[in-house]
Amino acid sequence: MIQKRMLLTVAAFLLILTVIVVGPKIKHNKDWPRFRTATAAETLAPQIGYPTYDDYWLLVRVISGEAHSEPYVGQVGVGAVILNRVKSPLFPQSVSEVVFEPDAFESVSNGIMWSLPPSDENMTAAQAALDGWDPTYGALFFWNPAKDVSPWIWSRNIVTAIGRHVFGH
């Protein structure tokens, strides 16, 4: 009788193990809508620096991780901050280097950037930021005052607050 129970326990244990190991792989495979084109920051206006498809996806991911359900303008703002950093001498010079600068963005550090499927609005927001919209007027930082932030951040010049985020430079 007890042996039977033990067998059952072992079986249950194995089942739990399987779920833990395989689970994350089958959790979600929501198809992302496909975008057809690379983007240009300034169409035909002779400017340098053309963001590409990979920049677009990185932006979508960070906007989703950092501002998933923020107001639309706030989502565009987060995208704009990343692009403002790329243009600024104070930060590295490409979207990937800015996004993956260690400890720069919380959703990159904790992995939420890759686990939260982006919404349609997140994607439109990334597109708008790449097309040059910047509701933050050149902000280089954004932070959520409700969270544990470095007190230093409040010494920045604040431009505006949108949704839960404060934007500044």
């Binding site: 084109t37 035909l44 001498p89 919209w133 509701p135 951040i153």
Partner: protein, 456 residues
């Protein structure tokens, strides 16, 4: 009895399994941490390497006399500075404010590049430029020594200072003494205090950040007046059911163009998302508008959408604009319109309009470019004529069109040019010749795709 034995065997077995698993886990953990750490260490040592190379190149740059050698040396200096910046951005220092090192390296590189460009045009460096180069060389030498000392003092595995951070003056995070963050923090502070600000013709020059918007004029307006302007603007957007938008909330925004940001609701349609319109506090210009509307299936053709954008711009008070390009996204089209002074296309004076490809309504508008750059310019009579431009270009391509234009440069200055559109090897190019000197200011390749026209 037997049951008990079985149970204890099972318990011992489980413990054994758990022990092996824990040991493996720990091993794996250490391996992963080391691999991550070595990435950081590689970045640190690379940065130090690049700064050392930069230092040597800048020292050489001061004694080189031949321009060919000078171009090579200074362009290499730019490359080393950029590589050093890139390495710096890969270290786990994101929470510390080490922006002065980044900025210093960016400016040194940018400045070297600007001098290299000058030499490549056959010009010589002025005394002032030589002097700035000497100053930067001395600063880089100090930076190099600091870094070498820091590296030299690392006796065992470098600590980054991410643990045990305390709060210093102005809330600045302070890393524990002896850590890399601490060492670089001191270097950062010194650079911030010592390095003079430099102005030159590159994008990282100090003057670029301080550009004042040129077309924002008029008296200060009240927030109520801004609301009226925004409502008037919103009701030109051409929404399908001709909704009327009303301001529901407003806030002040203190960017380089101080503004009121107004959030508006569509009257009688709660499903329509709120739109945001920013109106400048000076003069009441609409700076931008964003509408989170997600268009349905695209039914409009590009031509009709461009026409909608043009009509909207006219209604919003922009005259003498021509469409210079459009870019198709899956459900909307972004159209760029540029102001024309006579026959001259003033590219810096642009507005951008996004049209939804289902209803044809305007979902985004941006006039920051126009408000920053727009003015009537004094255009000299070209010394280098359209015929000269044609002849120069015809040697390399089949010329399709020549028009006069003003183009923005990376340091926010402008050039009065001839824009030559032509074809070579089945590819289309835009070449810009300075209308004064005939120099080639810029060459762009035009990519025509079903999604729109853009340049590389």
């Amino acid at each position: 009895m037997q049951n008990r034995r079985l149970l204890s065997i099972a318990a011992v077995g489980l413990l054994l399994v758990a022990g092996v698993w824990l040991w493996n886990y720990n091993q794996e953990n250490t391996r992963v941490r080391n691999s991550l750490e070595s990435g950081y260490q590689r970045a640190l040592f690379s940065m130090v390497d690049h700064v050392q190379n930069l230092n040597t190149l800048l020292a050489k740059g001061q004694v080189i006399q031949d321009s060919g050698q000078g171009v090579l040396t200074l362009a290499s200096a730019w490359h080393e500075a950029e590589s050093a910046r890139s390495s710096l951005g890969q270290m786990p220092l994101g929470r510390f404010n080490l922006t002065s090192v980044q900025k210093y390296l960016a400016q040194v590189g940018d400045y070297s590049y600007s001098l290299a460009r000058k030499l490549s045009r056959g010009e010589t460096l002025t005394d002032k430029e030589q002097e700035t180069l000497a100053t930067l060389s001395q600063e880089t030498d100090k930076l190099n020594r600091d870094l070498q000392t820091m590296i030299g003092s690392i006796k065992s595995k470098p600590t980054w200072g991410t643990k045990g951070v305390t709060v210093g003056v102005k809330g600045q995070p302070v890393a524990p003494a002896g850590s890399i963050a601490d060492g670089l923090g001191k270097v950062d502070g010194r650079l911030k205090d010592e390095v003079p600000s430099i102005t030159y013709d590159g994008p990282f020059s100090e003057h670029v950040e301080d550009i004042k918007p040129r077309a924002v004029s008029g008296g200060n307006i009240t927030i109520e007046r801004a609301g009226m302007i925004a409502e008037d603007f919103a009701n030109k957007l051409g929404t399908k059911e001709k909704q009327t938008y009303r301001v529901t909330s407003a806030r002040r925004v203190s960017g380089n163009i101080p503004a009121y940001s107004l959030i508006m609701k569509a009257e009688g349609d709660s499903r329509r998302p709120d739109i945001t319109v920013d109106v400048s506090q000076t003069g009441g210009h609409v700076i931008h508008m964003l509408n989170p509307y997600q268009p349905g299936e695209a039914t409009l053709d590009i031509g009709t959408a461009v026409q909608k954008a043009e009509e909207f711009c006219r209604a919003a008070g922009y005259d003498n604009m021509i469409t210079t390009g459009s870019l198709r996204h899956p459900k909307n089209l972004m159209v760029t319109q540029v102001w024309q002074q006579g026959d001259t296309v003033a590219y810096p004076d642009f507005v951008k309009v996004t049209v939804a490809l289902d209803t044809g309504e305007i979902t985004a508008f941006d006039a920051r470019g126009y408000l920053t750059a727009h003015r009537r310019r004094d255009l000299p009579k070209p010394k280098f004529t359209a015929e000269d431009a044609h002849d120069k270009a015809a040697a390399r391509l089949t010329v399709d069109r020549i028009r006069s234009a003003i183009i923005p440069m990376s340091d926010a200055s402008e050039r009065f040019v001839w824009e030559v559109k032509g074809r070579a090897n089945d590819q289309t190019f835009l070449i810009y010749y300075n209308a004064e000197t005939g120099d080639e200011e810029k060459v762009l390749q035009v990519i025509e795709s079903p999604d729109g026209t853009y340049t590389m």
